[in-house]
Every structure is written in structure tokens, then in C-alpha cells.
């Protein structure tokens, strides 16, 4: 998996690269929009991480050029301005995801991963992890042979976590996917919900599946 990071701020580019490399991605870096367009012309990338504020040609313009050339490489936009309008503008311009600065590395990695999976996502209607199964048609959840009652929101949370099983999910991403909140509400909504879900799927069962990732979020993981 090859990722192109387009970010003019050297230090930011450096820690993004390090984190993505640690996750096993091959990473290239450009510090301005024109270089990025040139790089994309010669090398096929699986994902582009594109900062909006770039010297010269800005990120949205790069995105426009790219989509104008019928290049469909998934693009994750980064922005320091971070407001709902800009998010909508970016998505309308053809971006696949948007992350406001300052972001959490876990969020960034999870989103880049989600973009690389987008095309090859499992079409199966029943998700499973260990002895936990979730039917995405009937919304029925089971652990072993025990039926688990879920509210609509808990179902969405479990579905999202199961689809990202094995990878940490940041709070912001959970809020976005499960609640459709595009702002940081500064509440412990996610934590309380996860705790409730944990009581339902983990309390009376072994092994525990829902894990807390210190400082960044939650992860569903079976036995290694």
C-alpha cells in the first residue's frame, strides 16, 4: 500500500510519515501542490493525504485537477480551518474523507486504512469476530448461542467496530460514523456508550473482545 502525503509543514509531514510507515505503508512526501500533481502522474498511489493550505496551488485545487484527470485515488483532506462548511466543500470537490487539524494519529491511520479498504470491503451480511456474530440485515447480535439485545445506536456502534476489527478506532471517527456528529462535543458520550456495549457483549463472556486503546480510542479484537 502506497500513500502520498502532501503537507508543507515539515514537522507535521514527518510524524504523519513515521506513523504510516510504522503501520506498514510505503510513504512518499510532497511539500507543495505542483509536486504532488507531478508525483501522481508518474506513480500510482492507493491513498492521498492532502493538506488544504499549501503554498501556491492549494489542496482543493490539486483535488480538482486530479478529479479532472479522471484520477479516482481516494483522498483524505487535512485542514487547519476545520468547519462543517469546509468539510462539505471538500467532499463535494471529490474528497473521500476530511480530517480537521489538530487530529489524532489513530484517527488519521484509521481513516487511511478505511480508504484503502473501500473498494474491497466485505460484502458479507453477517460479520463475525470469534464467537460474536452480527447480522447486518436483521440487526441480530449473538455471542455463542446467546442472543444480545441492542438499541439502534448500539447496533451502529457494534457494526462500525466490527467492520474495523483489529484496528483502533478514534473517538472522533466513532462520533462521525455512529452519531453523524462532525464536531468534537467535548463529552464522554462515546466512552459511556462503549461501556454499555462492553457490558452486553463482554461482561459474561470470555475472551474479552472490546479493548480500550489508551489515549486514542477503542478496538474490537479477538484472540491473537
Amino acid at each position: 500500500m502506497r500513500v502520498l502525503v502532501v503537507e508543507d509543514e515539515k514537522k507535521t509531514a514527518s510524524f504523519i510519515c513515521k506513523a504510516l510507515r510504522d503501520e506498514g505503508f510505503a510513504v512518499d512526501v510532497c511539500h507543495n501542490g505542483d509536486d504532488a500533481l507531478a508525483a501522481v502522474r508518474t506513480t500510482p498511489f492507493d491513498v492521498l493525504v492532502l493538506d488544504i493550505m499549501l503554498p501556491g496551488r492549494d489542496g482543493l485545487s490539486v483535488l480538482g485537477q486530479l478529479r479532472g484527470r479522471k484520477n479516482t485515488t481516494p483522498v483524505l483532506l487535512l485542514s487547519a480551518r476545520g468547519n462543517v462548511n469546509e468539510r462539505v466543500e471538500g467532499l463535494n470537490a471529490g474528497a473521500d474523507d476530511y480530517l480537521p487539524k489538530p487530529f489524532e494519529l489513530t484517527e488519521l491511520i484509521a481513516r487511511v486504512r478505511a480508504l484503502t479498504r473501500r473498494s474491497g470491503e466485505s460484502k458479507s451480511t453477517v460479520l463475525s469476530l470469534g464467537d460474536l456474530t452480527l447480522d447486518t440485515v436483521t440487526h441480530r447480535a449473538q455471542r455463542g448461542s446467546t442472543e444480545i439485545e441492542l438499541t439502534a445506536r448500539e447496533y451502529r456502534l457494534l457494526e462500525f467496530l466490527m467492520r474495523s476489527a483489529g484496528r483502533p478506532c478514534g473517538r472522533m471517527m466513532i462520533l462521525e460514523k455512529v452519531w453523524d456528529y462532525h464536531f468534537d462535543p467535548g463529552t464522554n458520550l462515546v466512552d459511556v456508550y462503549v461501556r454499555r456495549l462492553r457490558e452486553k457483549i463482554d461482561a459474561n463472556f470470555e475472551p474479552k473482545l472490546l479493548h480500550t486503546v489508551r489515549g486514542s480510542g477503542y478496538m474490537l479484537k479477538g484472540r491473537p
Partner: protein, 352 residues
Amino acid sequence: MTIRTRLVGWYAAILTLSLLLIGIGTYHEMREQAHNEKHGKPVDPPMEEAEELVFLVGLPSVILGLAGGWWLTRSALAPVAALTRSAQRITELNLTEPLPRTRNGDELDKLAEVLNDMNTRLNDSFMRIHEFTLRASHELKTPLTIMCGETETTLRDESLPPQERERLASQLDELRRLARIVDGLTLLAKADAGQVKLAFEPLRLDELVRDNYADAQILAEPKEIRVELAACEEISVRGDRHRLRQLLLNLADNAVKYNRVKGQVTINLRRLDGVAEFSISNTGEGISPEALPHVFDRFFRGDPAHSATEDGCGLGLSIARWIAIAHRGELILKSTPGRETLATLRLPVATG
């Protein structure tokens, strides 16, 4: 023409008129006297004559003078009153709206012009403050991104000693809090400068409230607070879905955060005279009457102890009120300390 010239002119006219009145009256009286004398009729004694002159000629002149004076003062002060009324309506938000001018070049017109210039200068200052906040919060984001990112990178190192890890994790928590504050400041600065576009669409407010009720129940769980949805009438409004949800969540979060353990939260949505009224009450300690007028101020904390225990960003209610006002609504807080605090949101109901 200056006001002084104009007033002096009118005053002279009134005096001349009074004089004319006296002249005509006296002439008439004297002619009658002369006539009587000529035809041998009895002539009034001088005392009676003087009395007649005072009452029949002097008095009307005095009344004319008084009425003229009254009219003169009133018309001289009317522009002042109009200017006062216009100036009273001026707030930070409509500084650019000019005060009405007569354009006749008198002192009051000049005053209006000077006041308008002053408002423009004040507006420039306000804009400079807004711009400063906006730029400052942008500038803060880059170093914040780097600090958060680098701290997180270090934390990902498995070989980090536990003590060091704990210290860095706590530092990261504070950095994220700072990031939230900067986010809130950016939003408010943009709102002040009128740069936030709201995506208005027809919405079912009751659906948002039901969602909010579910969130409130979850938020209330750790403190064993009972949440009740007392009424939820079907109401449509025109609004920005994300912003309204943000506003409702903020109110629910506050109702839980500032509540006592095993307390109560009651949510209501009703239609009252074409207005959607959402209210959420809590049984917390409440807000003192001295603090109440300031709860919507940025970074205001009613109880200094709260800043240590609750990790809000201190801007939640300011943002909530901005959202309400941007929807042509209002957000009001009432509190009976020790018993109940009630937040009421009123929004215009969508028509048609």
C-alpha cells in the same frame, strides 16, 4: 444654515408677529378712542384703557409668544430625540448601520456625521479584534497539530517506561483540551465576523429532540440521573441539522454535568404561539443570581471549582447561544439555586 441662525430667525419672526399684533390692537383701540372723542361719546379713563390694552392686545401677544416658543423648542429638539432613539439601537452587531442624517448642514447633522464616523472606527476596531482572534486560532493550530502528533508518536513506542507514558498521556489530554478551546474560539470568531454559513433545511425538531433524549440518558448513566421526556410535540423548523444537534447536546451535557448524583433531568418540546419551545431542566446546585447574567460569556465559570473537575472548554454555552440566535431564536437560562436550573430554547416554527 446653522441651528442658531435658524432659531434666531424663527424667534425674530415670532417677536415681529407679536409686535404686529400689539400694533394692530393698539391702533384699533386708539382709533376707537379718537372716534368716540370726535362724536362726543364718553371716553374711557386712562386706567380702563390700559387694562383693555393689556387684556385684549397684550395677552394674545403673550400667548402667541409662548406657543411660538414651545413650538420652537420642540422643533429644535426633535432631531436630538430622533438621534437619541437611533443611537440607542446601536450595538456591536449593527455598527455599520448609519444614523439617519438630515443633510441640511446644521450642527445636529454634523453631530450625526461625527457619530457615524465614530461607529465606523469602532466597527473597524471590533473587526480587528475578530480578525486577530481568527488569525491567532489559525496560527495556534499548526504548533498544536505538531505537539499532539509528536506526543502521540512517542506514546506509540512500546518500550516507553510506564511512568513516562503516564506523563505523556496526561500531557496529550491537556493538549487536546487546548485544541478544543482553540476550535471553539475559531468557531466563535468566525461567527462574529459572519463567516459561518449555516445549511438551513426543513427539519423535524421532535426527531432531533428524541435523539438528544437518547444521548442524555447515556450521558446520565454514570451519575444515575433519571432523564424524562415529558413532552415531545411534532414540530418542524428550518435549521442547520448539525448545529442544532450540537446545541441540544451541549444543553443535555450541561444538565448532566452540573446535576447532582441521582438527580433528575426533564426534557420538554412544545409548540406555543408559533414558537417551538424546547426546555431542559436539571436538579443541580444551580447558578447564583450574580452569576446568571454572565453564563453565556466566553470562558465564564459560575463556580471556580468546576473548572478543575469538569473539562469543558468554557465556550459551550456561548456557542449554544450563537446557534440559537443564528436560527432567529433565543436561549434563556433560569435558575433557583439549590433546586432547579432551566434552559429554554425558542425557535420560530417553519411555515408552509
